[in-house]
Symmetry: C2
Subunit: 317 residues, 2 copies
Amino acid sequence: METQNLVERVLAGEPRAVARAISVVEDGARGASELMKAVFPHTGRGLVVGITGSPGAGKSSLVDKLAGLYRARGERVGIVAVDPSSPFSGGAILGDRIRMQALGLDPGVFIRSMATRGNLGGLARATVDAVAILDAAGYGKVVVETVGVGQDEVEIVKTADVSVVVLVPGMGDDIQAIKAGIMEIGDVFVINKADRDGVLRTEKELEALLSLAERPDGWSPPIVKTVATENKGLEELAVAVESYREFQRGSAGAHTRRGAVARWRILELLRERLLARALEADSARDRLETLALEVAEKRRDPYSAVEELLAASDRRS
Amino acid sequence: METQNLVERVLAGEPRAVARAISVVEDGARGASELMKAVFPHTGRGLVVGITGSPGAGKSSLVDKLAGLYRARGERVGIVAVDPSSPFSGGAILGDRIRMQALGLDPGVFIRSMATRGNLGGLARATVDAVAILDAAGYGKVVVETVGVGQDEVEIVKTADVSVVVLVPGMGDDIQAIKAGIMEIGDVFVINKADRDGVLRTEKELEALLSLAERPDGWSPPIVKTVATENKGLEELAVAVESYREFQRGSAGAHTRRGAVARWRILELLRERLLARALEADSARDRLETLALEVAEKRRDPYSAVEELLAASDRRS
């Protein structure tokens, strides 16, 4: 009953209800279940843009300016920033505060940082759920920003309709790492801080890399040069994002991509639910702490510790 | 019987057996169980150094040169590089090939890249197992390098005895991201490419950040400046790593850290085993593909899809 009321307010686009709903999905998959079942049919209307790149690439400025551009066109914009901080550093809260200064007073912009909550996982799942909530609430553009190029972060950006990879001049000597890690997820590439030395070299290297790897869908990712802090190149970025969106419509590749994303979402959620169930009993959580101590002191190996937890979980169910 | 033979050869330090054992732990947690139970009691002798930082920070050169320094002192060195590439990009293999040119012909150096294998997870667990195998095989120094600063990559580096965070000059404007993500895991900080402009500014900013955050163990992380490609500052890095290792001996903080690492390892392994069991039956994997399609087409929501998979798994067990 309470969930139904919350869902109605989310669908009506109330920012406070959206914030509340995102907190529900952050708190855990179990509580989120009823909510997300009701929200899910209303998703898929907005455009979800994923933005990733290394720290230092200026992603936050880029996201803020892109949001500003969409706002100026009268769109409501949701921003979800994934913060790889531990629960102790307070990084997400700090990030929120800094950004609120620029955009946060605008009621047409909704900003939320998602931080890791301990090591029970679920950050990627919660982030994708938060994006779905914003989408269902009528935010026409939802931007998901991930700091870092880790596996989880890459997966999150892949779930977007359009994935943008941000580079900066002077990364040439680590181009192999970029190639291996994030090249293949970029539908659009941005060279930010394009007023710096080395922009041409980076562009050439990027072009060379892109020409090596033909995409299964036949798309040639455009390269956009920006200076986000000076609001340069943002229009071009918006056009490039839109062009991929247009390309996708009706393409067979888009269907394959949606299938892969759905499969990944199911697996993330399944993993989280399985672990939560295995550690539901107080006795299981107590035993975990004891076993961790024993493994730390080399009195036990992790594998036999896990086999004990699995066997205990099986006996309870 | 076969595993026992493999374990004996690993403990005797045979590189081919080490390679074989790492392949076993890469292939899955279940097959790894018997092997790792036998290997685990022989771990904890070597020094495990974790190295992380953004792409472009020159981590690979730093790792290669540090390995060279340890080799020159007569130590056997293991290198495990975590590669966030997808199974399609071949990034890990490429990375291996490039590195083999410099160090790979030396039988006292063992190099292995660990790449993501699909989305069933287990990369972090397999990486930590690989480090344990090298440790048990008598590699006195094991260096784990992660590309990127994602959550998984941070967790992997945290499992090392000494964690090194590599920065480069000119990252000042994204210092908040660094702070949130990786500041707290650095036992030693490196400013690499220290012949570039802005090295003093980066050092000052780093010092300021470090002075803000007092560590629970009372350690003040040293800052080492290097130019890895010119072999500069590597001796100082080795000294800094050793100084933290010395500091740790007998400190209460080290015990807490080992406990947290053990707990994380158990949870990673538990998550992997639970998912593998839930998808063990052919029928479950078939159903997953069908459900993914239905979710992609918005005929189902991911939550009810997962509840169906959970219920089916419960009925089978």
